[in-house]
Symmetry: C2
């Protein structure tokens, strides 16, 4: 049985958007997410959106313009928060560690290990909750995300191709092994032994042949993104894909930055791309 | 000459979005607005968006999804802040008075009179600034807004039909004379003598024959809007229009509330409606 509580409901784009909360066994905390479904009985194909650093379940929900496109394709959308939160949950004053920065891993290190289990949360608790509470078709499920959430979408899909039929990303961190954001977060959550990081590095996973069932992985990257050179480095996953004979399409968008103004511009094309595959 | 300063620029929907600041002679303060223009030389037809209570220039900019539609029609969009702000500017702890709640009037009462000149700001300083700084066609200018900003769009257009070719609104306050928000704000800004309020009441202006040049005024109103019965009362402007032989189309949208999720759903239809007239 589902323990999903609906906190608020809005009609939008000919469907229903809900702000929800449920208890996660993985994080040991309440977790929030938004869920949009088209009108009708379903079951609907659906996409899981994973957000980036500092975001909650609200950013994508209010800023991406996704629901107009979701309505066109009859695809439901779920967007969870990016970390456990609240009293008794560890945090760090930096924007790129702790609450709002879960990095979609299961932490093994103090003080993060008790609650920072975002990998298990997304792959188990969240999917079980929404599949139980809404008219969704688990056999037609895709995943996408932005930045840290692009990293989450890629690594979670590559490791769980049985759960997802399609995966795409906007300006993802393609290799936490090779950028300051990744090095800091993986060290904190998983410890300094880099071997433990590989399972959470999309580029390394491609090199190792994970997720070969995906016919294509679609990535959009803005060329005016201030994080492009030091943090995102899409050329790393392109090189790994070329070596492994895999199709990873990186579209470089002139003039676009790291913001939701970039995401909103190309979200319709991602929705159409996923809809073809779901 | 224009004194517009660009604070930030984002590429979005195949055009350029700028966050801007300029000095307003009317308010005696710096004022902020956003400006989106399509690519190309212009001059572009454009729409002025006026936001509702508590909003800044940012809400419509990030949440409405308007630029995808603006790009389709080749129409530029300017969205100003809803009041003067900053040190030395009067304020009130309530959300519906003072900063964030300018109501698009020129205040005559203390402590508001020195800076709360939003009617003059929108009709003079803002238009002069954007016409001077961007490739816009002042002869093809429209205006729209939401709630308090719907009131602003309607009253400003009805009193200045030479400035605007089209006007529409989402869930507007159609008669400040006849609702608690209006009574509170007009009393504070214009004083208790209700005669001074008439020039800022869209329903009264329609009754008096103002803005007869507009072939139609389009209004969308959600039926699940919690402000509908006590504050918005679209039946008042409908009755005035019927009596005056004017065409005011109020579309009542089942299930939709007062939020940007409602605006985002119908913004494309408003853009198409304005584009036909510009």
């Amino acid at each position: 049985m589902s323990n999903v509580e609906t906190l608020a409901t809005h009609r939008t784009q000919g469907g229903t958007l809900r702000y929800c909360r449920h208890d996660s066994a993985s994080t040991g905390t309440p977790m929030k997410f938004t869920m949009w479904t088209p009108d009708g009985e379903g079951p609907f194909p659906y996409l899981v959106w994973l957000s980036g650093l500092t975001c909650t379940e609200d950013n994508f929900t209010t800023k991406s313009g996704v629901y107009a496109h979701a309505a066109r394709h009859g695809v439901a959308i779920v967007a969870p928060d990016t970390s456990p939160r609240g009293e008794g949950v560890a945090d760090d004053p930096a924007y790129d560690l702790g609450q709002g920065a879960g990095f979609y891993v299961d932490a093994t290190q103090a003080p993060w290990a008790p609650h920072f289990k975002m990998y298990s949360y997304v792959t188990q608790d969240l999917l079980e909750a929404v599949d139980g509470a809404f008219p969704l078709d688990p056999a037609r499920r895709g995943i996408f995300g932005h930045s840290m959430g692009g990293h989450g979408a890629l690594t979670i899909a590559l490791r769980n191709p049985e759960l997802f039929k399609s995966v795409s990303a906007f300006s993802p961190i393609v290799s936490p092994l090779n950028c300051p954001w990744g090095e800091k977060a993986m060290t904190a959550y998983l410890g300094p032994a880099r071997a433990a990081w590989w399972a959470h590095d999309a580029t390394a996973l491609i090199e190792d042949g994970a997720g070969a069932a995906f016919d294509e992985i679609l990535i959009d990257q803005g060329l005016a993104d201030s994080f492009l050179e030091n943090q995102l480095k899409p050329q790393l996953i392109e090189a790994a894909a070329a070596k492994a004979g895999r199709r990873v399409t990186v579209r470089r968008q002139d003039g676009y930055d790291h913001s939701y103004f970039f995401i909103a511009t190309f979200i319709g094309e991602h929705m159409a791309w996923h809809a073809e595959r779901l």
